[in-house]
């Protein structure tokens, strides 16, 4: 449990938010040309990092907007929050 600074609403309790998993997984540009291996990679394989990870979050019980977060999964410390479409901060 921690506080999240929603880029639209400000600081709120984590239980208002829904975690959306790993960020910056790009949807395949040519889905019809993808091999089964590539589909598996896109759909299922995750970095699942212990340490600094880029994630998507949704303010589900608030403004319902999506945004990105950089978080250390070993101690739940939030390093940065940025809006969808913005470039991820370099570490």
């Amino acid at each position: 449990m921690f506080l999240i600074n929603c880029p639209y609403c400000g600081e709120r309790d984590q239980q208002e938010f829904k975690a959306g998993g790993e960020a910056h997984i790009e949807r395949p540009k040519q889905p019809t040309e993808l091999s089964d291996d590539e589909w598996a990679e896109y759909l299922f394989m995750r970095k699942n990092i212990k340490g600094v990870q880029f994630e998507r979050w949704n303010h589900a019980h608030g403004c319902r907007k999506w945004f990105n977060m950089v978080r250390d999964t070993s101690n739940d410390e939030i390093k940065a929050i940025y809006k969808m479409g913005e470039k991820p901060p370099s570490q």
Binding site: A19, W39, N48, T73
Partner: protein, 417 residues
């Protein structure tokens, strides 16, 4: 086994004020080379080493554990054992484990306190009723004991459940697997450790893996905090940290690691003599031999390795417990903790070879791996020894995420995820 536990050894040692018991396993430094190294000294890892030595006559094995054995999810779970899974592949896997549980204390000469007190799963809405009836039928077709109970039968089997029709999620029925139950989780790790050690397996504690050395597409050894260990076969049984080890080898797994919480109450006199699980409202409870209520809470929805978890998860579970068991309303909770569970997209485990020769993974047990400990060890040992899966774990390969042959057990998994 040189130091067999029995009534006679107990009497003999009583004469020496119990000061001469031998240690149950040694504390060796790692050798330079092993035939097989198992990464992770939890129940599954130790069982794997035990069956490799016992059934496949491979004795030059090390189990490396970053903390102490059984200190991860083996010592953190709610010890529920059952095999009432929906699909044939899962039924085969989990019932194989349950059959080994039934003779495990005798086999290990170590009391794992396996208690077949039954596990009841409750239905709280019409879809639950349909799903649980379907699962009961599927279980019986697979030779797994299962019965469907009406609300009255639920009440008769466990009288403290509130079966009133005016609660928020009334009990509409349930299933019962009588062969299911609980075991002493620490004893499972210790029993397997003692058995494996007696057959020559080196159990190396406080030894963290820092890297996996590859030569092209095959494994050459592992870097650890106690130096480099040369080996051609590495079996990774690292639960929540499986992805961390996989990343060292340049592999990606279909896993997300999340905190799962459990809690126990102050000890009280016997009040609940079975295990009751309820997926819909997310409450499951049993009573330990010490008298504590053992309560399983849920997972957080974000990736975290903190072994903590959020307060609202515990609060939600306790709300459900209080509605189902009003008798517990004045119980005080004694301890709460979290463990990191590695969750697969289909809520089924992975016991598999990988694209790297000599590297095997046993992971993805998610929220319910304890019940499978003996079967998982047995089948993973077979997979490593023969470089081929056993027919019981063939469906649980990594390739199912490519082929699409997923084993969707979200309905039968311990915790909805």
């Amino acid at each position: 086994m040189k130091n067999k536990y029995s009534i006679f050894s107990l009497v003999k040692n009583a004469f020496n004020y119990h000061e001469n018991w031998q240690r149950a396993w040694k504390d060796p430094m790692p050798k330079k080379v092993y035939d097989i190294v198992i990464v992770g000294g939890g129940g599954h890892g130790l069982a794997t080493a035990y069956y490799l030595a016992k059934k496949h006559n491979i004795n030059n094995i090390a189990v490396v554990e970053k903390g102490w054995i059984g200190g991860g999810n083996t010592g953190r779970n709610t010890t529920i054992i059952r095999s009432n899974y929906l699909w044939d592949a899962s039924a085969g896997l989990y019932d194989h484990a349950l059959k080994i549980w039934e003779g495990l204390s005798q086999e290990l000469n170590y009391n794992v306190m396996f208690s077949q007190r039954g596990v009841m799963n409750l239905a709280h809405n019409l879809q639950d009723v349909r799903d649980l009836k379907r699962r009961t039928h599927a279980n019986r077709l697979n030779g797994i004991d299962a019965v469907y109970l009406s609300t009255e039968e639920v009440k008769k089997f466990c009288p403290i459940i509130n079966t009133s029709t005016d609660i928020r999620y009334p009990v509409l029925g349930g299933t019962l697997q009588r062969r299911a139950g609980t075991a002493r989780h620490d004893a499972v790790a210790w029993g397997y450790a003692r058995g494996a050690d007696a057959m020559g397996v080196d159990i190396i504690q406080n030894c963290e893996v820092k890297g996996i050395k590859r030569n092209g597409d095959s494994v050459e050894g592992i870097e650890t905090t106690k130096g480099f260990i040369k080996t051609k076969k590495v079996g990774v049984v690292a639960a929540g940290h499986s992805s961390v080890i996989a990343n060292m080898a340049g592999l990606r797994l279909p896993l997300e690691s999340k905190p799962l919480q459990a809690l126990v109450s102050e000890p009280v006199k016997p009040i609940i003599d079975t295990v009751v699980m309820s997926n819909a409202v997310h409450a499951y409870v049993s009573q330990s031999d010490k008298g504590e209520l053992v309560i399983g809470a849920g997972t957080d929805d974000y990736v975290s390795y903190t072994q903590k978890g959020s307060h609202q998860i515990v609060e939600g579970t306790l709300n459900a417990i209080l509605e189902l068991y009003p008798i517990f309303s004045r119980m005080r909770m004694l301890r709460q903790w979290g463990g990191i569970v590695d969750i697969c997209p289909d809520a089924s485990p992975i016991l598999s070879k990988t694209s790297i020769k000599g590297l095997y993974f046993n992971c993805g047990w998610g929220t319910g791996g304890f019940k499978a400990t003996p079967g998982s060890g047995d089948l993973f040992a077979h997979t490593i020894a023969n470089d081929e899966p056993h027919k019981l774990n063939a469906a649980f390969n990594l390739n199912r995420f490519v082929s699409g042959d997923l084993v969707d057990e979200h309905g039968a998994a311990a915790v909805a995820h």
